[in-house]
Every structure is written in structure tokens, then in C-alpha cells.
């Protein structure tokens, strides 16, 4: 095994690259592929270098190419291939493309301490859904929220709340998918309320660029309607809002 350290290493790199490119669907973004490949290369190199025998076997073929022990054909191929690879990467980086530039969005930027709502200021800390209750009236409110949802939100967020409404394809960033565990189920209701009420325009600087098409819903809906629609999206997506450990957080005060 050790004798083929070099070949095995190169094979592992190729296999990981092929796996990332071919096996994962939807395709993995280039930035992530690059990062995973860098880590794989570092990991394998460290593994190889951490043992003298392994390292010697790994270095031997490389050394033989550069000291002239390897067959002339191999030397030529390597010496042509390395500059060619560098040239190709360089070309790839400078070639003009019609793609939109990289976007580094923070999906869930931190909410401000307070935000304006209908002329008053809402404090985010401690904000809870006033309509959330355990009684029978909850079903009624959820039903009302559903009406609000289908009159306003469904065009983008879709009738199954999967972020695939009629207009979804036209927007970038695309509308949120509430069925995804990474969206509303990991957020508090106060957070969701802030996002609904202030829309894409209310995103803080940490969430650059501000090209979210989400309207500022407080301009169209009442406070109650927004809370009701939040009740509905949690109910219909089968998720629960994130809560904080109340008992612990007040113990020390």
C-alpha cells in the first residue's frame, strides 16, 4: 500500500472531486467545492507527511520527475501539464461571464434592537406573538392567517409554502422556503415578524446586498394580520417557532 502513496493520494483527490461534482444534487456551489477540496488536499498531505516511510514513498515519484530519473515522456507530460493547468485556472478566472457576481448573503442577519411599525417602535427583545394561545380561538386565527397568506404571500412563497410560487423564479434571492428546517423553524416569531413587517428594505447592512424583493408588509397589513399569517405559516409547515430557555435566562437576573 505505502509504495503507492502518491498514486493513492491523487486518486483520493480525484474521487472526492468527482463525488462532489457528480453525486450531490442540487450541484454544490463552486466556493464550497473549492473549500472541501482544499481541506481534502491538506488532510491527505498531512496524513502522508506524518509518517516517514509514507512520506518517502510519496515524494519519490515527484522527485524522480524533477531529477531526471523518470522516463523522458513522463517528464515532458508533467512539465507541460503544470503550466497548462495554471494557465487554464488563470483563464477561468479572467474570462468574462454573464453570471451575476458572487453573493455572500447572511441568510438570517441579526435583527435590530427595535424597528418602526406603524409610527411606533417595536422592541425585538421580549416580543412575542400576542395571538398565540392554546385555546380553540387559535384555529380560527390560523384560518384567518391562511386567508391573509393566500391573498398576499402565496404568489411568491407558494401554496405549499415551499418558496415556489408563481413569481418565485423571477426573484433573486428566491423567496424563502418555510418547509426547510433552516428557515422559520430555527427562528423566533419576533424575528419572523420583523422580517414580514420591514421586508427586504428593512434588512440590515450585514445582509448585503439588499436586493430582496419582499415588500414592506406593514404598509399593507395590520399588526394583527401579520401575527395571524405567522401563526398560519408555522402551522401549515408543521414547524414550531424557536424559543429560548426562559427558566434559565431569568434565573440570574
Amino acid at each position: 500500500m505505502q509504495r503507492f502513496a502518491f498514486s493513492i493520494t491523487v486518486l483520493i483527490w480525484a474521487a472526492v472531486y468527482a463525488g462532489l461534482k457528480l453525486l450531490v444534487s442540487p450541484p454544490v456551489p463552486t466556493s464550497v467545492v473549492t473549500m472541501y477540496m482544499v481541506l481534502t488536499v491538506i488532510g491527505t498531505l498531512i496524513f502522508v507527511a506524518a509518517n516517514e516511510a509514507r512520506f518517502a514513498h510519496f515524494v519519490a515519484p515527484i522527485r524522480s520527475v524533477f531529477t531526471g530519473e523518470a522516463p523522458r515522456a513522463v517528464q515532458v507530460v508533467v512539465l507541460v501539464a503544470i503550466p497548462a493547468a495554471v494557465a487554464w485556472v488563470t483563464y477561468q478566472r479572467v474570462v468574462p461571464s454573464a453570471d451575476a457576481p458572487f453573493e455572500a448573503r447572511v441568510v438570517h442577519p441579526e435583527p435590530p434592537a427595535s424597528f418602526p411599525l406603524h409610527g411606533k417602535r417595536m422592541e425585538v427583545a421580549g416580543l412575542a406573538n400576542p395571538l398565540r394561545s392554546t385555546g380553540p380561538e387559535l384555529r380560527k386565527r390560523i384560518a384567518e392567517g391562511k386567508t391573509v397568506y393566500f391573498r398576499n404571500c402565496f404568489f411568491c412563497h407558494g401554496d405549499t409554502l415551499a418558496g415556489d410560487g408563481h413569481f418565485a423564479g423571477a426573484f433573486l434571492p428566491i423567496p424563502g422556503n418555510f418547509r426547510d428546517v433552516g428557515t422559520i423553524s430555527m427562528l423566533q416569531e419576533s424575528y419572523v415578524f420583523w422580517r414580514v413587517a420591514t421586508g427586504g428594505r428593512g434588512l440590515p447592512k450585514g445582509a448585503t446586498p439588499w436586493n430582496s424583493a419582499m415588500p414592506v408588509w406593514q404598509n399593507f397589513l395590520t399588526e394583527d394580520e401579520m401575527w395571524k399569517v405567522i401563526l398560519y405559516i408555522y402551522d401549515a409547515s408543521g414547524s414550531t417557532p424557536r424559543t429560548w430557555d426562559e427558566a434559565v435566562s431569568h434565573a440570574k437576573h
Partner: protein, 586 residues
């Protein structure tokens, strides 16, 4: 004859006391000069809330000096802990080389204390001149602690100098007195750290104030949410830092060594340093989680802006650093096994262990929000990948880091027993139990890691505790079995100290750089999450430098601080070496 001996000891004692006094005088002059300079400046300059420092700017100047002061403080607090531990090991094992190692590093302290104090004084002057109003506010609020702090500085210097100067006098039967001195140095040093943390943590998570900002309880202000977690976190980090610097020093000396004996000596020294660094490093993530939890409990807003806002990108950097620390530590241990006869038995474990480490690193470094082009985003259906997105959340990262810790621990344990074969009759059973303990811990970590995806977040937070407990329990069981099992074990061969490739030493040096850089980065995050507040939510920073800079800019400053720190440390080592050789030559 006994009379002459006493006279000699008395003469040495006088010298020791004189040396200590010199140290105290130095600190006295420094402090008094700083006090007079600061007050003089404060009375000469026009009253203002803020004053501008040309070129560098207020914040950057204070940042650089404060971080350097902190790093040197970590060094002067970490090295005595390191020296004390090695001294005890020397007494227990009766091996002379441990005592010599402890002595060699204690020698550095005198110089390092002066530098730390000078940086601290510079910091104080900068704060008083550039941020007069805020500094005045803080010093008024914590008036009683300042005098305590100064008194502690003197006590620390007194004990530390005595510890160094009485090293040769208090040997043999009197060794326990020297150990007592070592303990006192560390107790006072820890107290010093705790007092300094009061001010820092109060700025992060103020407490003990009424709504109008008046102090209601000094103790509540001291014992704020983040005080204890930061104390513990910094204490552990100091030990690891001290060990890492010792290892880096040994690495340099190894690489510059000209004889086999020297190489053997510094190889061993590097091993001891890295051992202590890694041992203290392993519990650090746990202390970090505690701190994070307390920050959330103090203010969700602060917690969210730390983990989910703009600062979330710096955690990717942190993941990269910690991941590479794990890589570096394992790399060094495995290369070290090359010089241990019998270690061949464990080489076959390296492949799977590397696999766990690489996968762990990959999971840990996967960002929550992926950088993607528009086309890629549309294909993914959002800015997080339906499959890779699973790696972006805390549950996956906790699982990854716990498994990485477990793996590194295992590498350590295999290293320890590499040249030994247990002779006790129950060795086979014991090994099976150890393997089972590791396997169970790994399974528990994985189980809760996967299960976390199915429960709400407040339940999930609790799971990380089970994961940590499982790992800690497995470690405890492992070590508890290991010690009696390897007692009187048969040695396959002696460790061939010095017979290690040079790249292992670069690995050690890498650990020290990564550690220092990590300290700089985490210091920035800790301080940066206050955003535009001096005291979070209470006293606003109204200076021109209240904004949060770009991450790129911040990392450049951190890099600059690290380079200056290494230059200064090199100077300390070089001057100590020159001093030592001058004395030896005289």
C-alpha cells in the same frame, strides 16, 4: 563546614532578596511614572470626550496595545503555570530535566513582566488620553478594584521574582517551600486575571446597574454574566498558550541545534510543551460553549449578532484555525511516534483517524450561508444547500468538534503507550473496555447530533451538554484504566529523542502561530460584538471609530499584532539567552 554552608546560603538569600527588590523598584517606577504622566496629560489637555490620535486612530492604537498587553499577560500567567506543573512532575518523577526545564522558563519571567507592565502602562495612558470620559466612568465605577489590582501586581511580581531567585537555594529538603512559592505565584496571577476580567466583562454584559445607570451593587457588576466563563476560558487558554510558546521556542532551538544531545533535549522540551498545550486546549471548546451560552442569556440580541449576524463569518475563520490546530497536533504526534520503538503497531489507525479529522473539519468549516452565484443559488433553492445546509447548523458542528476532540485524545493516548506493553493480567479486558468507552462516546455524540435535527432549538442546546459529557466520561474512563494498566509495563525500547524530522518542529511552530492568531481573532470577536457601545446597552461609543470595520481589515490588524508579538517574544528569549551566557561567562 556547616557554618560555611549557612553563610553561603545567607549570601544567596541576600542576593535573591536584592534581585526581587530590584524588580519591585522597576515596577514602582513604571507605575508612578505612568500615573504622573497620565494625570499630567489629563490636566494639560483640553477637556473632551474623545481625543483623536493621528495616523493610527484611537481604536486601532488601543486595540493593538491592549491585545499585545493581553498576549504578554497570557504569557506571564501561562508560563508560571507551565513551570509549576513541570516542577511538580520533576519532584514526583525525580527527573532532573523537568526541574531544569521549569527553571529555564522561569528565567524569562523577569523580562516578560517588565514588558507586560510597560504595555499595560502604555494602554492606561492611551485610554486616559484618548477615551477620557469613558475611562473616567469605568474607573469611578470600579474604584475599589483598582487599588486591589495594583496591590496584586506587586504581590505577583514579589512572588515571581522570589520564585526565580530562590530556585537554587530552595532545593532538596527545602524544595517544598519553593513549590509553595510557585503555587502562590499562580494563585496571585489568577486573581490578577480575575480582577482584570471584571472590567472587560462588565463592558460586555453590564450588571448591577439600575435603569438610570447608577451602580446598585458592585458585586453584581463584578459577577456579571460573562465574568466566570471568561475567567475560566482565559485561564485554560493561558496554560495552552504558555505550552505552545514553550514548544515553539523548543522548535526553534531544535532547528538551530548543532549536536545530537541538543536536538534530543529540545525535542523532548517541544514534546512537553505541546503536551501541556494540547491538554489545556481540549477542554477549551467546552468553556467556549459556556461563554456563548452566557452571552445569549445576557442578551439574545448580542448572541444573535455574534453567531448569526455579520460576525458569523469570523466563526468560519475560527473553525479554520481550530481545525488546523487539530491537524497540526495530530501531525506532530504521529511524526513523534516515528521515534518510538513499538509505535508501528498503531500506524494503521492513522488512516481512519485522519478521515474523521478531515470530515470533521469539512463539516465545521461549512458556512451556514453559502457563497454562491445567482445560478447556483437558484439551483439550490435558496442560499443554503438542502443537503450541505445540514452541516451549517450548530448541531452538526458540535458533533464534528466532539469527534475531533475524541480523535485527538486517542492519538495522544496511543502516543503515550507506543513503546509500552502492559504486563498486568487484565490488560486485554482493559483495552476492550477502553475501546468500548471511545466507541460509546462516539455513538452518543453521533446519536444526539442526528437527533438534534428533530427537536426544537431549546431542547437542542441541552444535547450539546450530553455530547460533551459523553466525551469527557470516555476520556476519564480511558485515563483511569490507562494509568494502572501501564504501571510497570514492559518497554519495547527507549524513545529516540531528537530523531524526528524537521517538519515536525515546523508543525509545533505552526501550533504557536495559529494559537496566537486565534487569540487575537477571538479577542476581536469578543470586543467587536459590543458594536457601537462602550458598555453594551449602557454607554454608547460616540467617537468616530464606533463603527464595525470589515473582516478583512480586522484580520490584517490581528496579523500585525501577531507579528509584533512574535518579534517581541523573540527579543525576550534572545535577551534572556544573552543575559544567561554573559552570567555564565563571568
Amino acid at each position: 563546614m556547616p557554618q560555611a554552608k549557612t553563610a553561603g546560603a545567607d549570601a544567596a538569600l541576600v542576593d535573591a532578596l536584592k534581585g526581587t527588590w530590584k524588580g519591585i523598584l522597576k515596577i514602582s517606577v513604571l507605575l508612578v511614572a505612568t500615573y504622573l504622566a497620565a494625570q499630567g496629560l489629563a490636566s494639560v489637555l483640553n477637556p473632551a470626550d474623545y481625543r483623536a490620535l493621528p495616523v493610527l486612530g484611537n481604536r486601532t492604537a488601543v486595540w493593538i496595545v491592549a491585545e499585545l498587553h493581553l498576549m504578554f499577560a497570557a504569557f506571564v500567567l501561562g508560563v508560571p503555570i507551565f513551570a509549576f506543573i513541570t516542577e511538580i512532575v520533576g519532584v514526583v518523577t525525580k527527573e532532573r530535566r523537568y526541574d531544569d526545564l521549569a527553571r529555564e522558563f522561569t528565567k524569562l519571567l523577569a523580562m516578560a513582566y517588565t514588558l507586560t507592565a510597560a504595555l499595560g502602562c502604555l494602554l492606561l495612558v492611551l485610554l486616559l488620553v484618548l477615551y477620557p470620559k469613558f475611562t473616567g466612568y469605568l474607573s469611578k465605577l470600579f474604584k475599589p478594584t483598582w487599588a486591589l489590582y495594583v496591590a496584586l501586581i506587586f504581590t505577583e511580581v514579589l512572588f515571581a521574582y522570589l520564585y526565580w531567585f530562590t530556585w537554587d537555594i530552595l532545593q532538596g529538603a527545602r524544595k517544598r517551600w519553593h513549590l509553595l512559592l510557585g503555587a502562590l505565584v499562580n494563585i496571585v496571577g489568577t486573581a490578577l486575571l480575575f480582577v482584570a476580567d471584571i472590567w472587560v466583562t462588565f463592558m460586555m454584559s453590564p450588571a448591577g446597574l439600575d435603569e438610570m445607570g447608577n451602580l446598585t451593587s458592585l458585586w453584581a457588576a463584578i459577577n456579571n454574566h460573562t465574568w466566570m466563563p471568561i475567567n475560566v476560558h482565559r485561564l485554560l487558554a493561558n496554560v495552552a498558550f504558555g505550552g505552545a510558546i514553550v514548544a515553539a521556542y523548543a522548535a526553534v532551538r531544535f532547528l538551530a541545534a548543532t549536536s545530537a544531545e541538543e536536538r534530543a533535549r529540545f525535542d523532548w522540551m517541544g514534546y512537553v510543551g505541546s503536551f501541556i498545550a494540547i491538554a489545556a486546549f481540549i477542554p477549551l471548546p467546552f468553556a467556549g460553549y459556556w461563554l456563548g451560552r452566557e452571552i445569549y442569556q445576557f442578551s439574545e440580541q448580542m448572541g444573535v449578532s455574534m453567531m448569526g449576524g455579520g460576525f458569523s463569518w469570523l466563526w468560519i475563520l475560527q473553525a479554520m484555525l481550530i481545525g488546523s490546530l487539530f491537524f497540526g497536533a495530530n501531525f506532530y504526534l504521529w511524526l513523534g511516534m516515528g521515534r518510538i520503538p513499538g509505535a508501528e503497531r498503531y500506524v494503521r489507525f492513522q488512516g481512519p483517524m485522519m478521515l474523521v479529522l478531515t470530515l470533521g473539519f469539512i463539516v465545521w468549516a461549512t458556512p451556514r450561508s453559502i457563497i454562491a452565484t445567482g445560478a447556483e443559488m437558484t439551483a439550490m433553492g435558496g442560499s443554503h444547500h438542502p443537503f450541505l445546509g445540514l452541516f451549517g447548523v450548530m448541531a452538526a458542528k458540535n458533533t464534528a468538534v466532539n469527534l475531533m476532540i475524541l480523535t485527538t485524545f486517542l492519538a495522544f493516548m496511543l502516543y503515550r503507550r507506543a513503546n509500552r506493553v502492559p504486563v498486568v493480567p487484565w490488560a486485554a479486558t482493559a483495552k476492550a473496555v477502553q475501546a468500548a468507552a471511545i466507541a460509546v462516546a462516539g455513538a452518543v455524540v453521533l446519536y444526539y447530533g442526528v437527533y438534534s435535527y428533530y427537536v426544537p432549538s431549546n431542547v437542542r442546546i441541552g444535547f450539546s451538554v450530553y455530547q460533551v459529557l459523553a466525551v469527557l466520561a470516555a476520556m476519564t474512563v480511558f485515563v483511569a484504566i490507562d494509568i494502572p494498566m501501564l504501571r510497570g509495563a514492559r518497554e519495547i525500547g527507549a524513545i529516540r529523542w531528537g530523531d524526528i524530522p524537521a517538519r515536525a518542529q515546523y508543525g509545533l511552530f505552526f501550533l504557536a502561530i495559529a494559537f496566537t492568531w486565534l487569540m487575537g481573532l477571538m479577542g476581536y470577536i469578543r470586543s467587536g460584538i459590543r458594536q457601537y457601545w462602550h458598555v453594551y446597552g449602557r454607554v454608547m461609543d460616540e467617537s468616530a471609530h464606533a463603527y464595525t470595520m470589515t473582516h478583512g481589515h480586522a484580520t490584517l490588524i490581528v496579523s500585525f499584532i501577531v507579528l509584533v508579538f512574535f518579534a517581541l517574544v523573540a527579543m525576550v528569549f534572545w535577551m534572556a539567552a544573552r543575559h544567561g551566557s554573559a552570567r555564565a561567562g563571568a
